[in-house]
């Protein structure tokens, strides 16, 4: 079944057509990569999917719900989480707190529960903390739990973003260039992490420039250029696709 169905989505900023009539379907439980040259509209597409930008046309169905016009927090509740190209951590919070905030929607008790420290509140806080610890272990950051997240090394910050995305218990994780600026060692660690995400049953939608990563882990690849989807297929097909090669390297004269 399709978890995500994008139909004819367009996103225009004035005269600039960042995304133009994009059609895309993502099967449940796969790793799908969206690739394309800089400025192809990949991040804008992600912004449309997560409600940060409202598409100017078309519709997006996520687990059979129309999310085209929903605000970001509603979409998050439906089970989509993302990371950002330019890391957006809560820098002054500690690592574990970053992951705890992300479990916001799972907590039921409100103002009164917190003031009177009802049993339910205490139980929930405990599970939130334990779960946060688990997510940190999953991305390999449990040693950093108490340190301020802004002070983490770059690679660790990227992994913390993934842990935070996971903590909101999504069915689909959107990763925006998770290996940008990483050395080969860190990159392969992140690849392993993404595979583990898939093993957990999450659908992964990935924007990536590193072809080794894209070809290594994707089940399906979509290629965008100038806001338009120019190709779609298995990694082996994309590798040979003439349009894709042209988009990246230019036409032969």
């Amino acid at each position: 079944m399709y978890l995500l169905e994008v139909k004819n989505v367009s996103m225009h900023f004035g005269g600039i057509k960042a995304v133009e009539e994009l059609d895309l379907r993502v099967k449940d439980g796969i790793i799908m990569s969206v690739i394309g040259p800089n400025g192809a509209g990949k991040t804008t597409f992600f912004n449309c999917l997560t409600g940060i930008a409202k598409p100017t046309g078309g519709s997006i169905l996520f687990s059979d719900t129309d999310i085209t016009r929903l605000p970001p927090h509603e979409i998050a509740k439906l089970g989509a989480a993302r990371t950002f190209q330019n890391i957006r951590l809560f820098k002054e919070m500690t690592v574990i707190e970053n992951v705890m905030v992300a479990q916001h929607c799972q907590i039921r008790s409100g103002l009164f529960g917190s003031i009177f420290r009802l049993k339910k509140f205490n139980d929930e806080e405990r599970t939130v903390r334990e779960k946060a610890q688990e997510y940190l272990e999953f991305v390999g950051l449990s040693d950093y739990a108490g340190s301020v997240s802004g002070s983490l090394p770059y690679g660790a910050q990227r992994r913390l973003e993934i842990a935070r995305a996971l903590a909101s218990e999504p069915s689909m994780v959107l990763l925006d260039e998770p290996t940008a600026g990483m050395n080969p060692q860190e990159t392969s660690e992140v690849m392993e992490l993404i595979r583990n995400l898939k093993a957990l049953g999450k659908t992964v939608l990935l924007i990536e420039h590193d072809m080794k990563v894209v070809m290594g882990i994707s089940d399906w690849i979509a290629v965008m250029d100038h806001g338009v989807k120019i190709a779609e297929g298995f990694p082996s097909d994309i590798r040979k696709n003439q349009m894709v090669i042209e988009a990246y390297l230019g036409k032969e004269q």
Partner: protein, 373 residues
Amino acid sequence: MAKPLIIAIWMSALFLPFKGLKAALILFVALSCMLFLLKYLSRFKDVIIAPLHKTFDKMQNIFTAAPLPSILARYALLMCLAALPFFSGDYFLDIAVLAGIYIILALGLNVVVGFAGLLNLGFVAFYAIGAYTYALLNTRYGFGFWTALPFSLIFTMLFGFLLAIPALRLKGDYLAIVTLGFGEIVRLILNNWDSLTRGPNGISGIAPPAIMSLPMEKLGYYYYLVLFFVILTLFITKRVYSSKIGRAWVAIREDEIASSVIGIQTTLYKLYAFAFGAFWAGLAGALFAGKMQFVSPESFTFMESVLILCMVILGGLGSIYGVIFGAFLLVLLPEILREVQLYRMLALGAGLVMLMIFRPQGLLGGKSVSFRS
């Protein structure tokens, strides 16, 4: 070498047209001496500043560190506070009551500015609304303190919501200006709506709060009342801070887009922050009206907003104990500096400048925000 001289010449040149040559020369000499001294001292920066940093860091840890000493420290402090009226004069009690009211205000503003990161320059409006609600209900309809208090609180919270609805479409500086405008609007209404508020004359003859028909006119009693409310404020803000609501506030302060993507309804939580902060301002206002037994628009000027904001920044944005310390300091300082009346605003300004240079996170502000409670 030349920089202090240039600064001194520049400043005295600016001064020249106003006070004449002699004054400008004196200023020049004084300024250059001072700047050279500062420059000289900056060599010993590590020797002077580092221990200060350490002391404040330690102070910050007293209440949050190991459980047993912190509990002992808390009880010791509480005992001292409870015993205060028995061995201190009315003068000091008066200051303590005022400090208590400001602590409640600062804790309230800290929720808005420190936790949620929304700069509110019109916070005094809520303080005024709380005070006037009690004053009017008491003098016009004969409500007692305890019956009027819920009205005061609800009314201020309502205004908190009301301000938040338009204000939350704005960000940063623009929000600051709108809140500033709101503060002025409220003051001007209080000043001009003669038939209701009696304008600049204010409302006098407000009854002090009473417990079991025992009026709290005596300063000692009032001190305990304020102490009770300060502890209540501290207790509740701390608990709310270390819950999902507090976490959401800090997340919004740190990164609004990221927090919306993880499922926080940012607008709603900003609204909560405004209303929650206003609630405490309303409480402080009612206590203020009960203490003074008189309110007038003069007590609720923009400078008051700035003073409360200074307390929050001085103590450390987002740090609950820091804010209490800041409020206490800023109430106490003018009293200590009463001898040099003219220069105390100057000293305060210079102190804040120094603070921003050497300890931008505030006296007791931590490097990070923590939710341990």
